[in-house]
């Protein structure tokens, strides 16, 4: 049998069931006696609920119960999992987030009533018969509107609609840097609001067992234990041993399925009231106004440089939209997950960042693939390009001149993070070569001959993931630990089951985690089973997001396997009548060093469970170990992305012709999966750069409320992506892996926009905000045409 270990492109075990329609998603699950839920949601952005008349609705066929905010006024609100403090030391304003809207509705989509009926149809029919008296209130939909003097308040307790006003870095050092600068470059930029649109919409089933008193929640989550903790402890006050959360197959998350959502708490609570399992599946329109949105920052950045183009200091002020309520991780995204990345790959000595978090009458905003790092990277790579332009320097040279050199690691940045390893020249050179950067000028002329404008753009980035060292996270405001757990159970015949706190919703863990076991224990890949997603089966883990599963979850597995091997050696020593220090474990065998006397892993396993010839006085039977791994630091993948675009000046359409990515993600476990992760992240980055935008009008209505108006990238928007890797190992985890899930979405948007700005070099354009849509590009070309004619 083949041992498929680290570095092998093992085909995914998951694919057979996913590609043949045999996945087990929440909507596929049907519980005996189940009934159905429909949520009546606000179609107004801001209003005072005067009355909810359910009289007619309650009488309709099939209706079992109708619940409103009044019913939930005695339970906890949906909690926020990260607390940020403002500059003056005061904690962030944390308004209550009721399970169902109470007193006021604060965004289009805010749930007002939960209707439970025998069928979905009947629940919908009854919801339509509920009569609402909601007095419309003025709404604020944008950062600008919310921060304007005298703006209507989303929450009475948040003066000026401000949640917090935070800072990081050294303002004095930055001021000194600016004072001696030869050049100061300033840039206003927007990071556009996005909607994750995972292929599977959210769904949940709440269930209560009257005989055991146990609650079960089936939910489309990236982290079932986190949901159990937040919902059980903070919302419904259900003790943990009475609450089971199951996240089965989940069809993509990209961050949007991390958070504890109101529907989960509402259904779990209601199931105990009606004593039937209650099932809810969102439709896509509902997802648009209830899944957390992403990004939505407005920033002003200033970079001070000396006469040679070396960066002296960077100053950034950001306004971040929180939406109407604080979602689980929201306050951390623009602060500790973003501002701390403002050194990027550069040795900038002084950095200061300020972040003002703002409430608006929009859907709550929280982490979305990259979570804060795309925002930081976009800002940095745009201002670096702008600096090159204003100093008349080459865009490649200005970057290289400011890179953190490879012998400078571990490198302490001026904004908290310490990078462990990296070689930015290596990924840079590889990407420049692979993209044929040198040959661009000739291609540009060819495009020009056909009347098209061609541009090339570079992005060099580093990011921080592998979330996170618990004590550090706690000191920065996290309300949970961020370790990961692995329970490795070796079966008597030598096969292995791994119980992991990580969750797979597209990442392929069933395949890659099994590769780790094949590598370290020599167990064939098809004899390794990975179990995740059910809190009753796995020890307490923190789930999958922030590119942490391999770096933290995989490391936990390595530690647990180390313990397995340690115990195995003792058993082998006994069987082989040798000293334990003379036993080595290699290629799946325990052997006496310098001899050919050995025992296979499977034999040791069997012996552990049938301990007849066994050191029973010193060693318990069995072969099962658990390890909790708390990372020592974040991990720091980095790399270089290069995009090449061609613009049709007649229509403004931007065609992406080429995309090259060279990423350093530390040790590669499965190259095929790495390529898929990078390509997927880049597709979403291209979506952000050229196509996607969640747009609210001034009154708070979501104009891009469906696929008809929210432009998702399709296959014909994406060129063949060249993916390469360079490797510097993570120095502080046993795998040496840094994580790859988000790098694609982090590195790509600035590469694309830098290319677009480059293509428009003759049109007096210094910056374009995302998405660079055709109408926007055409308007720029039109506005600068007279200038062209004059020249």
């Amino acid at each position: 049998m083949v041992v498929d270990g680290i570095g092998v492109s093992v085909r995914r075990k998951e694919d057979l069931r996913f590609l043949s329609g045999r996945g087990n998603y929440v909507d596929d699950i049907n519980r005996p006696g189940q009934v159905y839920a429909h949520f009546l949601r606000s179609d107004q952005p801001h209003g005072k609920i005067n009355s909810i008349n359910m009289a007619e609705a309650a009488k309709m066929p099939g209706v079992i119960a109708i619940f409103t905010g009044e019913d939930f006024s005695q339970v906890g609100g949906i909690p926020c999992g990260w607390q940020i403090h403002s500059k003056d030391g005061s904690p962030m304003v944390e308004p209550r987030h009721p399970v169902l809207a109470h007193g006021k509705v604060r965004h289009v989509g805010d749930p007002i009533a939960l209707v439970v009926a025998a069928t979905k149809q009947q629940a919908k029919d009854a919801a339509e018969a509920i009569v609402l008296d909601i007095e419309s209130l003025p709404a604020v939909a944008s950062l600008g509107a919310a921060l304007a003097p005298g703006a209507p308040l989303v929450h009475d307790e948040a003066a000026g609609n401000i949640c917090f006003d935070w800072q990081i870095g050294d303002a004095a050092a930055v001021a000194a840097g600016f004072a001696k600068a030869h050049k100061i470059v300033k840039l206003d930029l927007v990071n556009n609001r996005l909607i994750a649109n995972a292929m599977e919409p959210r769904a949940a089933i709440g269930e209560y067992d009257v005989s055991s008193g146990e609650y079960t929640l089936y939910t489309t989550s990236q982290n079932p234990h986190v949901i159990r903790l937040l919902m059980g402890a903070f919302v419904l006050q259900i003790p943990e041993h009475k609450l089971r959360v199951v996240a089965p197959d989940v069809g993509g998350g990209f961050g949007s399925k991390i958070f504890h959502y109101a529907e989960e708490a509402a259904l779990t609570w209601a199931a105990a009231r009606v004593k039937r399992p209650i099932k809810w599946t969102a439709d896509r329109s509902e997802a648009f106004v209830t899944d957390a949105h992403g990004r939505d920052h407005v920033s002003v950045a200033e970079l001070a440089l000396d006469a040679d183009g070396k960066f002296l200091a960077l100053k950034v002020k950001t306004q971040a939209n929180m939406g109407a309520y604080l979602s689980t991780f929201a306050p951390s995204v623009p602060t500790y997950l973003s501002a701390t990345l403002l050194a990027g790959v550069y040795a900038t000595p002084a950095i200061h960042a300020e972040v003002t978090a703002v409430f608006t009458n929009t859907v709550p905003v929280d982490a979305y693939r990259g979570a804060g790092r795309p925002e930081a990277t976009f800002l940095l790579e745009r201002i670096v390009d702008l600096a090159a332009r204003e100093l008349n320097m080459d865009r490649v040279e200005i970057r290289r001149k400011n890179f953190i050199p490879k012998d400078a690691f571990p490198y302490q940045t001026p904004i908290a993070l310490q990078y462990d390893s990296g070689d930015y020249d290596a990924t840079f050179d590889a990407a420049l070569a692979a993209s044929d950067y040198a040959g661009f000028e000739a291609r540009r002329k060819q495009s020009a001959a056909k009347g098209k404008l061609r541009g090339i753009g570079i992005s060099t980035y580093v990011e921080a993931c592998g979330i996170a060292p618990s004590a550090v996270a706690g000191a920065l405001g996290a309300r949970a630990g961020l370790y990961e757990v692995a329970n490795i159970r070796v079966h008597p015949t030598g096969s292995v089951t791994v119980f992991t706190g990580a969750h797979s919703h597209g990442q392929g863990h069933e395949t890659t985690f099994a590769q780790l076991v094949s590598e370290q224990l020599g167990v064939p890949h098809d004899q390794v089973d990975i179990v995740h997603g059910d809190t009753s089966k796995i020890p307490f883990g923190m789930g999958t997001y922030g590119s942490r599963s391999l770096a933290v979850g995989g490391s936990a597995m390595v530690k647990a396997m180390d313990k397995i091997i340690t115990k195995g050696k003792k058993i082998a020593a006994h069987l082989l009548e040798a000293d334990v220090h003379d036993i080595e474990f290699k290629d799946g065998k325990f052997s006496v060093v310098g001899t050919d006397r050995a025992k296979a892993f499977a034999e040791i396993a069997l012996t552990a469970y049938v301990p007849h010839n066994y050191p029973i006085e010193e060693l318990e039977p069995g072969l099962e170990e658990t390890a909790f791994y708390d990372p020592k630091n974040f991990t720091y993948p980095g790399g270089c992305h290069i995009a090449e675009v061609e613009i049709d000046p007649d229509t403004g359409v931007v065609s992406l012709l080429r995309f090259t990515a060279v990423d350093d993600i530390g040790r590669v476990i499965n190259p095929m999966i790495v390529e898929g992760q990078v390509q997927g992240g880049i597709a979403q980055g291209i979506g952000q750069a050229l196509l996607e935008h969640a747009i609210y009008d001034k009154s708070g209505q979501l104009l891009s409320g469906s696929m008809m108006d929210y432009t998702m990238p399709r296959a014909d928007n994406i060129p063949n992506i060249l993916v390469g890797t360079e490797t510097t190992l993570c120095t502080h985890n046993p795998l040496g892996s840094k994580g790859v899930g988000e790098v694609g979405a982090i590195g790509s948007p600035p590469a694309v926009i830098n290319a677009v700005v480059d293509a428009l070099r003759d049109f007096n354009v210094s910056h374009i905000d995302m998405p660079a849509t055709a109408d926007k590009i055409w308007a720029i070309i039109e506005a600068n045409r007279p200038k062209m004619a004059a020249e």
Partner: protein, 265 residues
């Protein structure tokens, strides 16, 4: 969806009767627009009359015209040798509607009866000067389109065939809305027996319209250059998050030129 009665009559008379006798009954052609509308509960018909049992699908090439049955799916038009031989622009248009799944079910009759201002077919019918044959009469293209989602069809009146005169030259150029891939601007140019006709869909506030200035210029010289300098007024055009009215006005000129170039090839 709301509940409704479903029937699938096998004669035209039965279908018309079902629609006329119940004011809240609706006809179902391919369903590519109507089924999503029903799923989103934007319509509450008492009954749905499925037209797929009426044998109204088919393509006939006659001496001077192409006759397409109302229930002919877009994919069939796109792949038809008769259409490709006689009016290839029509095959191109049909082949770029929606996606493959939509093209297996969506029909020309359904598209025309709905008159979505972003639909492609209205521009072909208006530019080619087609005649719409119903169970009651024949309606000229000029008289058929009455504004967005509005036609001159009487309640219960069903389109049975569309008759396309064969043009000397024709082409269709569509600038797709990046999200919906409907026509943000679609221009159908045809050199017909009675002169050049240019019909624009997607952009107008009132649905498909003919572009008189372009027609006059192209009648003098059927070249893309003939359209240089002719500005389209933005006043009657749509503006939305995907583009301003000015942008659409500009695109009309670009697509028209590209259509003329393609038609001349």
């Amino acid at each position: 969806m709301y509940d409704f009665e479903y029937s699938k009559p096998s004669t035209l008379a039965d279908a018309v009767n079902a629609l006329v006798s119940d004011g809240d009954a609706k006809a179902l052609a391919g369903g590519m627009t109507f089924i999503p509308v029903l799923k989103q509960r934007l319509n509450k018909p008492s009954a749905i009359v499925d037209l797929s049992g009426l044998d109204l699908s088919g393509i006939k090439l006659e001496a001077d015209k192409l006759v397409i049955g109302a229930m002919t799916p877009h994919g069939t038009v796109a792949m038809s040798p008769d259409v490709k031989k006689s009016i290839p622009a029509l095959a191109d248009l049909a082949g770029n509607i929606g996606d493959r799944q939509v093209r297996y079910r969506g029909t020309i009759g359904g598209s025309l009866a709905n008159n979505d201002p972003s639909a492609c077919y209205p521009s072909a019918v208006l530019a080619l000067g087609a005649t719409i044959k119903t169970d009651q009469r024949e309606i000229s293209a000029e008289d058929f389109f009455q504004g967005m989602f509005t036609t001159s069809l009487n309640p219960g009146e069903l389109i049975t065939e569309v008759h396309f005169p064969i043009a000397e030259r024709a082409a269709y150029m569509k600038f797709a809305n990046p999200a919906s891939r409907y026509a943000m601007v679609g221009v159908f140019v045809a050199k017909t027996k009675s002169g050049v006709r240019v019909a624009v869909t997607g952009a107008g506030q009132n649905g498909v319209f003919r572009h008189k200035e372009f027609e006059d210029a192209l009648n003098k010289s059927f070249t893309a250059a003939a359209l240089d300098g002719i500005k389209t007024s933005a006043d009657i055009l749509n503006g939305d998050i995907h583009g301003s009215a000015e942008y659409r006005a500009h695109l009309i000129g670009v697509m028209a030129k590209r259509a003329v170039t393609a038609a001349s090839a």
